[in-house]
């Protein structure tokens, strides 16, 4: 019996292939876009975890020095006291022509030494510890390093993240030019008992407990949260399609359900059959979605990886691994999506009386009540979103506002459109026009889901588009201010840096040393930069808040400038005091924009920096010179100091690089944006096509009254275009509100800086045109069908035999 009944239920889809296709595509798109985002996030997080575990950042307690590095003698003293520690040194180095992160460890004590890949040269203790030593690198980097002259042999290992080279610490100290220095000490698990506490033995060192999440994961959390939000939005838009299609399929099969029950299938059995049918369809769509998600993720991952590397320095490989958990969660989300979309249908089946005669309800009344409830729910969501940001703090409150705003507005849309159409209808006198507006209102319930999806997609487009364009404009201006020097030069060593400085001073208008150290700022690691208050900075530095005579006070009074993210996080505005290290509390005299930098940064005068910190690198310089003299100077510097091309970079090149990182940052959101809009356009098309079966009985009487099929077809087009246009108009204020939330709320909470909003009305016109086009294209096929419908089919509407 079950097989026969299930076959009968499934036969509906055989007769309605378009509906089946709509359902499968909708669910596959929803699952695919969600899964793609999850795959990207999972891949990135796996990379962070691998990197953190391999570099010993997460599993062990760490000892580090607020001054920046630990002297070898302190390490030796702790070891003699009985503490089991493993030293780590980490830094950027140029290995031949390749820049890489070099991690030096003591292979005898290091808890997780990398293992050589199969086929790599044999690794023996002699080869690691005796000259020339060994470099361990991920496979791709190993190939590149092997081609460089004068480097120790390279061993490929899959255990290391991209861009990282691991080696014995003494070799690392040589490569990094940091003899005798250690960055951190890993406190190993098994320690002898009765040791003197570390706080007594090394009071100057800071003990950090093992991390639950990695540092990189924390830094990039907001980026992944953004992606997840987009994934959820795409999923929601996809679900609108699925909900509409399943709802229609249930509606169309009401008579079938009654007949099946009348023929002896119990309600419980039928319910289970429908759930099984939904599950089956969800599994098929889920599998399609997984394939789609994998393809989208594979296409986007290289850009995401580049973004994460460029913006956060996070090590993410560009390759995608198929993870069973990801596949299972993808299928799970497809099933959940189908359950959400089908729940109403199953509930209605339960509420549906077996006899049609018992269902003589006032449908119009029900529809009005439902619309009213939906509008009230929309208002409640808007209020809840507003309350969330008012009552709570943090990024989640920002996203709660976003969700409340978007979903609330979507739920309000049908009521709003009905109101506008009713107003237009009231002002119309011509009979055909009156019918058109009345018919449009009558069609709203059937089209409302698709229009809500379109509203969300258009508003997202406007909102994210405004955010990206505002960001680009601000960022470009900021780059112009920050990169005021014509040329940036990086020496190989501090000695070479000093020589370069002297050499440059004879030949250029001004040399601006760029010197910095990492230090504890307000309890968290950040960067302290030394700066001379040169005219270049006075004119160009992007200050957003400043005390009077800020530049004079930077040099004279020991005041400091802090970047915007640090200022907002710690409430450090001019007049406040900031703690650097443990015992230095200078006054904040200014705050500056510092887009794209995830960590706190402080600017002090160069003399103060050198007085407070030892071993400040002396390698980077900005050079002021007439632009036409730049090419000649570049050639001369390279010849004189034997520097690679990448060490002498002009301003235009840095700007191009920075903008490239910026563009990549928003490439993914842009791609998801376009996909979401496509899904919404598809939703309108499918709604119109699936409603087609119900349309003939509505149009036949008008045709019989004298309107030609061609005119009716044109009116069908007009209906779709008008509804899409009205939706686009509603999407404009919503999109601008969304942009404001993104720039003034989410951005501040996620990244720490606020951006001004710039409006781009040309983009809106383009989007309006796209919405109208989507409406016209979606209605083209149904209108064409109507034009070609034989009069006999229209006549059947009036016949009992239909």
């Amino acid at each position: 019996m079950t097989r026969v009944a299930l076959a009968a239920l499934l036969s509906h889809w055989r007769r309605q292939p378009l509906q089946l296709l709509t359902l499968l595509i909708g669910l596959a798109l929803a699952t695919g876009l969600w899964s793609a985002v999850q795959a990207i996030n999972a891949e990135a997080r796996a990379s962070y975890a691998q990197a953190a575990a391999q570099l010993g950042r997460s599993d062990h307690a760490l000892l580090s020095a607020p001054s920046g590095w630990i002297a070898r003698k302190d390490y030796v003293a702790l070891r003699r006291a009985g503490w089991k520690l493993s030293p780590v040194l980490e830094g950027r180095a140029r290995l031949g022509e390749i820049a890489a992160t070099v991690v030096g460890v003591d292979f005898l004590s290091y808890p997780k030494p990398p293992e050589a890949d199969a086929g790599a040269p044999e690794v023996t203790p002699e080869r690691i510890f005796l000259a020339p030593g060994l470099l361990f690198a991920p496979p791709e980097l190993a190939v590149q390093l092997a081609a460089q002259p004068d480097l120790p042999p390279v061993v490929a290992t899959a255990d290391l993240p991209p861009g990282v080279v691991m080696t014995e610490i003494s070799l690392a100290q040589y490569l990094l030019d940091r003899a005798g220095q250690i960055d951190r000490l890993l406190v190993l698990d098994a320690q002898p008992i009765n040791l003197r506490p570390l706080a007594e033995l090394a009071p100057d060192l800071v003990l950090t407990p093992p991390e639950r999440g990695t540092e990189t994961a924390r830094l990039t959390d907001s980026f992944h949260l953004n992606l997840t939000a987009f994934g959820l939005l795409s999923f929601a838009v996809g679900l609108f399609i699925v909900h509409g299609t399943i709802g229609l399929a249930f509606q169309q099969r009401r008579a079938m359900f009654r007949t099946m029950r009348a023929l002896g299938i119990s309600l419980r059995h039928l319910t289970w059959l429908l759930i099984a049918e939904l599950g089956l369809l969800a599994l098929v769509a889920g599998l399609l979605g997984l394939v789609l998600g994998y393809l989208v993720a594979a296409a986007l991952l290289p850009d995401v990886a580049a973004t994460l590397r460029g913006l956060y320095g996070a090590p993410v490989s560009g390759g995608l691994t198929l993870r069973p958990l990801w596949a299972l969660s993808g299928l799970g989300i497809a099933l959940i999506g189908a359950a959400i979309a089908g729940a109403q249908g199953v509930w209605r089946l339960h509420a549906m009386p077996l006899l049609a005669s018992a269902e003589q309800r006032a449908w119009a009344g029900v529809a009005v009540r439902r619309a009213r409830f939906q509008a009230l729910a929309g208002l409640a969501l808007l209020a809840a979103g507003g309350a969330a940001i008012w009552l709570f703090d943090g990024l989640v409150a920002g996203f709660a506002l976003l969700a409340g705003l978007m979903l609330g507005a979507a739920l309000l849309l049908p009521a709003l459109l009905d109101l506008v159409l009713a107003l237009i209808q009231r002002r119309t006198r011509a009979p055909v026009a009156q019918w058109i507006w009345a018919d449009m209102r009558a069609q709203l319930p059937g089209l409302s889901l698709a229009l809500m999806a379109l509203l969300l997609a258009l508003a997202t487009n406007i909102g994210v588009g405004t955010m990206v364009s505002s960001f680009r404009l601000t960022f470009t201006g900021w780059l112009d201010q920050r990169l005021a020097a014509e040329l940036y030069v990086t020496a190989r060593t501090d000695e070479q840096g000093a020589a370069l400085h002297r050499w440059l001073e004879q030949r250029v208008d001004a040399v601006l040393p760029v010197r910095s150290v990492d230090a504890l700022i307000a309890g968290q690691y950040g960067e302290v930069v030394g700066m001379r208050a040169h005219e270049t900075y006075r004119r160009n530095w992007p200050l957003i808040a400043a005390a009077p005579q800020v530049w004079e006070r930077l040099d004279a009074s020991g005041g400091v400038l802090v970047n915007e993210q640090l200022a907002r996080r710690e409430n450090l505005w001019p007049g406040a005091q900031v703690t650097i290290g443990t015992d230095w509390h200078p006054e904040v005299i200014g705050v500056y924009s510092d887009y794209g930098n995830p960590v706190g940064q402080i600017i002090v005068s160069l003399d103060t920096l050198l007085a407070r910190f030892d071993g400040v690198p002396y390698r980077q310089f900005g050079v002021r010179i007439a632009p036409d003299r730049v090419p000649a100077l570049v050639t001369e510097i390279r010849a004189q100091f034997d520097l690679p091309a990448s060490a002498v970079v002009d301003q235009a090149e840095i700007k191009a690089r920075s903008l490239a990182v910026f563009e990549k940052t928003f490439l993914v959101t842009g791609a998801l944006n376009v996909l979401t809009l496509g899904v919404a356009a598809f939703a309108i098309l499918t709604s119109l096509l699936t409603l087609w079966g119900m349309r003939l009985p509505q149009l036949a009487p008008v045709w019989a009254l004298g309107l030609t099929r061609a005119r009716l077809a044109r009116l069908e087009l007009l209906r779709s275009v008008v509804l899409a246009g009205l939706t686009a108009l509603a999407a404009l204020p919503l999109g601008l509100l969304l942009a404001w939330v993104l720039l003034a709320v989410i951005n501040v909470k996620a990244f720490g800086w606020r951006l001004p909003i710039y409006l781009f009305s040309g983009d809106w016109l383009l989007l309006l045109a796209l919405a109208l086009l989507a409406g016209a294209l979606a209605a083209a096929l149904p209108a064409h069908r109507l034009r070609r419908t034989p009069p006999a089919d229209l006549l059947k509407v009036f016949a009992n035999e239909r």
Binding site: M1, Q16, A262, L263, G264, S357, N800
Partner: protein
């Protein structure tokens, strides 16, 4: 007795409780018998048929169908009765639009686990549906659809066939042909027929007649 109705009363929620749709109604039907129930519109004919078919519940009295007291049966058992004992023919045909004529014809029999190919072929031929086996209901005329509905009902060899205005949507000529065929096939299958109609002409074709007025058999 195949069907025994005793002191049956049915009210609809919200309706005048002093005037139930069916009031203290008693009726019986033996196996192989044909009964036509006539009455004015709104007299409760269809309601009675739905109660006998275990599609709806009554307020008082009892219906014994094939030895089962319907008031005592849960939803599952009532569904089983509809599947195995009773077959229904509706005025609106109620075919499954996504199944072909052949699939619709065998549907109820397969649900009941009583598919008999020979009997199905015979029915298909007798009902003149051989040329339409692969068509869908929407491609058939009203008379043809009703013949499919009758074939579907008889294919599972029901003990009781309930027909609610089976020719109400058909013209007179088609109606007579369909009724004659249905009565012939019912006789051949050995089923009892409980026919509800407002047409005296159709009612005259049944072996027994009853008239329903103000919720009572007169």
């Amino acid at each position: 007795m195949l069907l025994e109705i005793q002191s049956l009363t049915k009210r609809y929620p919200g309706s005048d409780s002093a005037r139930p749709v069916l009031r203290d109604l008693s009726l019986s039907l033996a196996a192989g018998e044909t009964l036509a129930l006539t009455g004015e519109s709104g007299s409760g004919k269809s309601t009675l048929l739905h109660l006998v078919g275990a599609l709806d519940r009554f307020d008082a009295g009892e219906i014994w169908l094939d030895g089962h007291a319907l008031s005592a049966l849960g939803d599952g058992a009532r569904a089983a009765l509809r599947r195995d004992v009773v077959a229904l023919v509706f005025q609106q045909f109620n075919l499954i639009p996504s199944l072909t004529v052949a699939q619709n014809l065998s549907f109820h029999a397969r649900l009941a686990g009583r598919e008999d190919r020979e009997w199905l072929d015979q029915l298909t031929e007798r009902l003149g549906l051989g040329d339409f086996a692969t068509r869908y209901p929407e491609q058939l005329s009203g008379g043809q659809q009703q013949r499919v509905a009758i074939g579907r009902a008889l294919a599972m060899r029901p003990r009781l066939l309930l027909a609610d205005e089976p020719t109400g949507n058909l013209d007179e000529t088609t109606s007579d042909a369909v009724m004659a065929l249905m009565l012939d096939l019912v006789a051949e299958s050995g089923a009892a027929l409980f026919l509800v109609t407002h047409s005296e002409r159709i009612a005259a074709l049944a072996g027994r007649r009853a008239h329903l007025s103000n919720g009572c058999i007169t």
